[in-house]
């Protein structure tokens, strides 16, 4: 089994990354240097004005390290990837099935099943742990809607139905998401999803963590030789990483959303860590961003039983396992795609 390696997040502006032998050298604007051996890393994410030498880019490509460039606020700009694992057969089969509405609907159904079951589990966990501090009736109604989706998913659905259910499940879940904020409720009030730019602190946190999740899922898909752009549930749209979005669905609630909630509820991020621009857009400050990055890194190290493999693995490796499982199901080794069910 692959090992979970670290991702290097570079947030200091003006930093220059270069290669020295088998090491990444990080030189800060003030001249301070740090070194990391490449073999302990599986990716580098640069935020904002961070420069990389072409030799480092080439080395990362060769070693299969995913390198992403984001704006300071976490919008994806560009990625550098090495030679793909070269499985043209797998990609061809992926495209074939993406063109086939029946095959696509099968995978879409699994993806939505993962989303529905995991969102429901997050709501239930909240009811169990904080039933007295939330509007339990509201949460229970949302659980009912998700139950209904789960029931409909017990038999095959069409692609349109799957897409409709995606909207319905997200709607029910985000309608009560604000209920799960238990700390500093005024500053972290939540009134539905908004993005580009986020208009409140919770949306700002969610968008940022989704970016981190997207980087990891995308590089896991590329590592097994799949094309992250061509999805099944998410239709092709230029510039949209359809398959990465598909696989992200099952991870959003328990990996990203719960992380955001626990950062707020444990007081690890605070209202003053956010600034509101005149346009109404909300951004986090550097310290808050670092807190989120550290928490994400830590979250990936948490181990859990993989429900399909029945093996304990770190959550960060689950992205890779799911990529592997989707590749195996596309190649016909498995009679379907088993999503990661979080319990």
């Amino acid at each position: 089994m692959k090992k979970l390696l670290n991702t290097l997040y570079v947030t200091s502006q003006g930093t220059y990354l270069s290669k020295d032998g088998e090491c990444v050298v990080i030189r800060a604007e003030n001249g301070q240097k740090k070194r990391f051996p490449v073999h302990v890393l599986d990716g580098i994410v640069c935020f904002g004005n961070v420069l990389c030498s072409p030799f480092l880019l080439g080395h990362c490509g060769e070693k299969g390290l995913a390198l992403s460039f984001m704006t300071e606020r976490g919008r994806y700009l560009a990625g550098v990837r090495g030679p793909q694992s070269g499985n043209v057969l797998l990609r061809r089969e992926q495209y074939r099935q993406a063109d086939d509405p029946v095959a696509s609907a099968d995978i879409a159904r699994s993806v939505i099943a993962g989303k529905v079951v995991n969102s429901r589990a997050v709501l239930r966990r909240c009811l169990r742990d904080h039933g007295d501090r939330v509007d339990a009736g509201m949460l229970e109604r949302a659980v009912c809607t998700l139950d209904e989706c789960a029931r409909r998913l017990q038999t095959p659905v069409s692609l349109d139905e799957a897409r409709g259910m995606e909207g319905q499940a997200a709607g029910a879940y985000f309608a009560v998401f604000g209920q799960m904020v238990l700390q500093d409720e005024e500053a972290f009030s939540f009134d539905g999803r908004n993005r580009r730019p986020p208009l409140d602190a919770v949306n700002c946190l969610l968008s940022f963590v989704y970016t981190l999740l997207a980087h990891d899922v995308r590089s896991a898909l590329e590592a097994v030789g799949l094309d992250p752009q061509v999805g099944f549930l998410h239709r092709d749209r230029p510039g949209r990483p359809g398959l990465a979005l598909d696989v992200m669905e099952e991870f959003r609630s328990f990996m990203a959303d719960r992380l955001v909630l626990s950062l707020i509820n444990r007081g690890e991020v605070r209202a003053r860590g956010f600034v509101t621009k005149e346009s109404g857009a909300v951004f986090m400050d550097d310290d808050t961003r670092k807190t989120v990055l550290t928490a994400w890194q830590k979250r990936k190290q948490d181990e859990a039983m993989h429900p399909f493999l029945r093996e304990r693995i770190p959550l960060g490796l689950a992205f890779h396992v799911q990529a592997q499982l989707i590749a195996r199901s596309i190649r016909g080794d498995l009679d379907g795609y088993p999503p990661y069910y979080w319990k």
């Binding site: 089994m1 692959k2 694992s85 070269g86 499985n87 057969l89 797998l90 159904r109 699994s110 099943a113 529905v116 079951v117 139950d147 789960a150 029931r151 998913l153 017990q154 097994v224 030789g225 429900p307 399909f308 493999l309 592997q324 499982l325 195996r328 199901s329 190649r331 080794d333 498995l334 009679d335 379907g336 795609y337 088993p338 999503p339 069910y341």
Partner: protein
Amino acid sequence: MDRTLPLSALQHYLYCPRQCALIHVEKVWAENRFTAEGRLLHLRADSGSAGRRGGVAEDRAVPIRSDRLGLYGVADVVEMRPGPDGREIPYPVEYKRGSPKVEDWDRAQLCAQAMCLEEMLGAVIRDGAIFYGKPRRRERVVFDTPLRSLVEQSCRDMHTMVETAQTPPATHGKRCRGCSLKGACMPKTGQDVERYLLKGLEP
């Protein structure tokens, strides 16, 4: 054969055809402790150049190939032993980590090397040896007809498999335990995804 595969592919094929397909059809590769150690041992065999060992001339890291078998690779060590007519006969020696559990795939691998050398040199090679790292000792291997047919048949089957890009399904067995591709192969996950899916959807 219009396409050649590395000698190691044959060894993978004999160990488990799916393992060979994962590497040469699916292009999956994973390194674990065993393959890493195996490589180190080979590096040591590779490091020397031609020399003498107890009066026998030997050549190391000898590039070999056979168009008939569609194989290419490197023989660890080829000793040149004097034959009855005074001409030297190549004697291939393969280095293996681990203990002398002479399995068919080890023997066939060495036999394939000998068949490459025969094709290149126009010689007849009757035997060779496998050197095991633990304990350090040699096992003689005779290249008899059944072993040669095994090599030929396996090469044909392997090339067909790779040419037609057919990855055989996994059959979980004892050999999976030491397999470096277990993570990618997932030999235990069968065809029960629908049941798994439904179980998770229960209320």
